[in-house]
Symmetry: C2
Subunit: 216 residues, 2 copies
């Protein structure tokens, strides 16, 4: 559960994605080298954790000048990215779907949102952030035509369960589900269920704990 | 890093939030008892993990009928929730801010979004999802008047760094940051930096890994 097929823990995968964003930003600023403790400081973790993560993916570097930013970006990209661009569809083009689309396609990643789907006639046939919005009836056909392998589910929670069968039938391989309903899929389809409420409840809990500790 | 002040791991806190949502849904459906393996199945984890999480918070129950749903909801709420409602503000009322507001205030939780802030004159002075939108200049005053302790940062990434000082000055205790810029705060302010890109990159990685394993 906590680790993925080849033994790299899920949390390491998440941090690699985060390190890469920081490194890309460093690279844009003309920074060529970065020490593990600097990278660690930016991410609020220890240098040991950074070095452990990079050891897990087999990265080693000259530590006198720190990590070579460009080399490390390429190394992480080689781990995280597919060789070819991966096409993603959004199901549910409400505020969350639009926010994700806007946010994501501006980043120049190997992942790109190429299609969106909705049941609202006011949205179907329009382009939102240059992404065409199709009716759900065309889902399987468009997934095939556009070689889409990942979907983001950002429809209303009560609509989510009825998406499971179309997603399976269309041959989707990965699902990122933002609704409050957990979606379960057969083996071979990776699903990440992420309810934003969880994050906010966690922050609230940490605030509460800190206050209680201060009062003791 | 992985555990919070009182020794409950962060992942357990996240799962408790998820268990509670499932239990609330069971309760609404009139289900009075649930076995650990059923709860585990819904969440795609093992029954051992569920029992370990509940042991960590000191919950024990008659296992013949499973957990009493209502009792477990109250027990988890007692761990996660503050005694009084906690007020939350959204900074940045674009699509993401509106999605979070709509999504969150419908849930009847102890956390409630009471104010939003933006720099866009078209938004300031309006109510969005019944939440008034104030100019950023009023941030400190409104935080004090409304006793707001948590903020959600959902503004454009490039605007985020300049929010750090106002957030500190206003006495905010917890920050949930959805932008691509990590925000660092002094001790005493809990921050959860969460870039949605991380989740999508993780899903993409898992899909890629599964494909490579199939090809071998």
């Amino acid at each position: 559960m906590a680790s993925i097929s080849n033994g790299i823990p899920e949390k390491t995968i998440e941090r690699l994605s985060e390190y890469r964003r920081t490194l890309l930003s460093c690279h844009q600023q003309g920074i060529t080298h970065i020490f593990s403790h600097v990278l660690a400081g930016i991410h609020g973790i220890t240098a040991v954790q950074v070095r452990r993560d990079l050891m897990l993916i087999g990265f080693s570097s000259d530590t006198k000048k720190g990590y070579d930013v460009k080399v490390l970006i390429d190394f992480i990209s080689n781990i995280l990215d597919s060789e070819n661009p991966v096409n993603v569809a959004i199901i549910g083009m409400g505020h969350l779907g639009q926010a994700i689309t806007r946010y994501f396609n501006s980043k120049g990643l190997k992942l790109r949102i190429t299609a969106s789907f909705d049941v609202d006639p006011a949205k179907i046939g329009t382009t939102i952030e240059e992404i065409p919005c199709y009716p759900m009836e065309q889902f399987e056909q468009e997934v095939e035509d556009q070689d889409i392998s990942i979907v983001v589910v950002s429809c209303p929670t009560k609509e989510a369960p009825r998406l499971v069968v179309p997603i399976i039938n269309a041959g989707i391989k990965g699902v990122l589900n933002f609704t409050s309903t957990r979606l379960n899929f057969p083996q071979g389809i990776y699903v990440e269920n992420y309810d934003i409420t969880t994050l906010l409840e966690k922050v609230a809990y940490c605030v509460k704990e800190a206050e209680e500790n201060n009062n003791n």
